[in-house]
Subunit: 281 residues, 2 copies
């Protein structure tokens, strides 16, 4: 039988492919990866849409106890559902390798990922350098290796896609110290927070990799019906309300005139014009 | 009404998303972009699957007469179908901008693209630099700007995805000189040809950007059921038969041990072992 690793794309339950849907409906067990990303929908909606129970697979399950997912793939069809495309996170390569080791057949069904859909912001995918991750800073941990990667990209005139941190099912260590297993509410980094952290690192490192005037594009709920894309300088994006998660950010490199034309439709200036008109009305 | 720009993904007719399929079936006219890429299926199969006539839009139509596509989007729902994701080629940004200019509403429905699915080869998407295109060389035109881009990526330890040239509906100038409009048969660059051209450029430029011993991954029909992925040195990939199009190639940068483990399953050595066993049998 088969372990299907199926991308769900970026939007709602209908963003699964027809091939993916048919695979899910041929399965005895359906798992949904529930930690590296989220869809704009809950797993009950997915269950109803598929006509199949959907089991949430959290970080513990995928990283330490993944056997429960693939162990039966020799006798049954098993689906493992992943937001975006299955190959945008390491963990899934891992799952696939381990399933193959025990002799299970694995079939991957691709879908849209933020890395492909980022082209929607108007900057050509051909002109992107390496993608970086911006982690949540805390009191003790403020890693800035993304700064060097952005520096490298910008030296080549390339755009940088910044994926923003997500904390899902993080343990509440205070409660755990008191002997209870409690998880903190999920957190998703906003474009505003990412911009703050980026500016903090530039202020600290002072290598002039980017500045408050660097052109960027903030994106929220990319690929969903209510996606929001706003282009402006880092300083301008600091105060734009992008609404619900997920957010991501592109730091522009050299901008071609065709890209400028595409970006113009998302300019923060248009947003400000509308807001002013609303206030006047 | 709406102009839907819908990605078809990488495989067959069932790789459209459920949302995309519903949009197509709400449309009065359905166009299929027929020049930057091809699916492993013909447009008749698509027509039957959708229950809608599918009109082929070739290069002339999209680049010079695109009004026929979007002009009626104010009165009718129109679908424009694109292989992969709608934002992997400039022309579609163009179509979208022009449709918006005449006041049509545009909705983009994303799907898998080679840029996202390339992760299937085992090299982490986070470690890719800019994507390059390898054009068909001819007697007069042997452009090598991809060489500098690969050099830049490798300096940063990054992998390079090489998209290989496609010639669809190219005019036959000899026949045209005789007054007939004739098109040459479509051509798709193979991994072997790409490797030949890459080695030719290295031999000419001699900057040591890569060599016959550089680790690469050739991919054919990525995301389709009969995809073929083979990892080996450039010299080794020269003689591997990848079969039907589309092909693409990744030139590895620095390889992490987890990536090595993923690549091992695609090693050309395994292929050679199988072939030798066949020959002995």
């Amino acid at each position: 039988m088969v372990l299907y690793v199926i991308g769900l794309g970026l939007g709602d339950e209908t963003d699964i492919t027809v091939r993916g849907l048919r695979a899910v409906q041929s399965c005895d067990k359906v798992y949904l990866e529930n930690y590296t990303s989220i869809l704009g929908i809950d797993h009950k909606t997915l269950s109803e849409f598929y006509g199949r129970e959907v089991i949430l697979a959290d970080r513990d399950c995928v990283e330490t106890g993944a056997e429960v997912i693939y162990a039966n793939a020799k006798e049954q069809n098993i689906a493992f559902l992943v937001v975006g495309d299955p190959f945008c996170a390491t963990t899934h390569s891992d799952l696939i390798l381990r399933a193959q080791e025990i002799g299970a057949k694995v079939e991957v069904i691709h879908n849209a990922s933020v890395m492909g859909a980022a082209g929607a912001c108007g900057l050509q995918l051909y002109s992107y350098g390496q993608t970086v991750s911006i982690p949540f800073f805390n009191d003790k941990w403020r890693p800035d290796s993304f700064y060097d990667k952005i520096a490298f990209n910008r030296k080549g005139g390339l755009h940088t896609l910044c994926l923003l941190d997500i904390k899902v099912k993080e343990p509440d260590f205070e409660a755990m110290a008191r002997g209870r297993t409690v998880f903190l509410p999920p957190r998703f980094m906003s474009v505003n927070q990412a911009v703050e952290q980026l500016l903090e690192v530039e202020d600290k490192r002072q290598e002039g990799v980017y500045s408050r005037d660097t052109l960027c594009v903030g994106m929220a709920r990319l690929g969903q019906r209510d996606q929001k894309i706003v282009a402006g300088t880092l300083a301008e994006l600091l105060s734009v309300d992008f609404g619900a998660p997920l957010h991501s950010l592109v730091i522009a490199g050299d901008v071609h005139f065709l890209e400028e034309e595409m970006l113009a439709q998302f300019s923060v200036k248009l947003l400000q014009a509308t807001t002013t008109a609303d206030e006047t009305a």
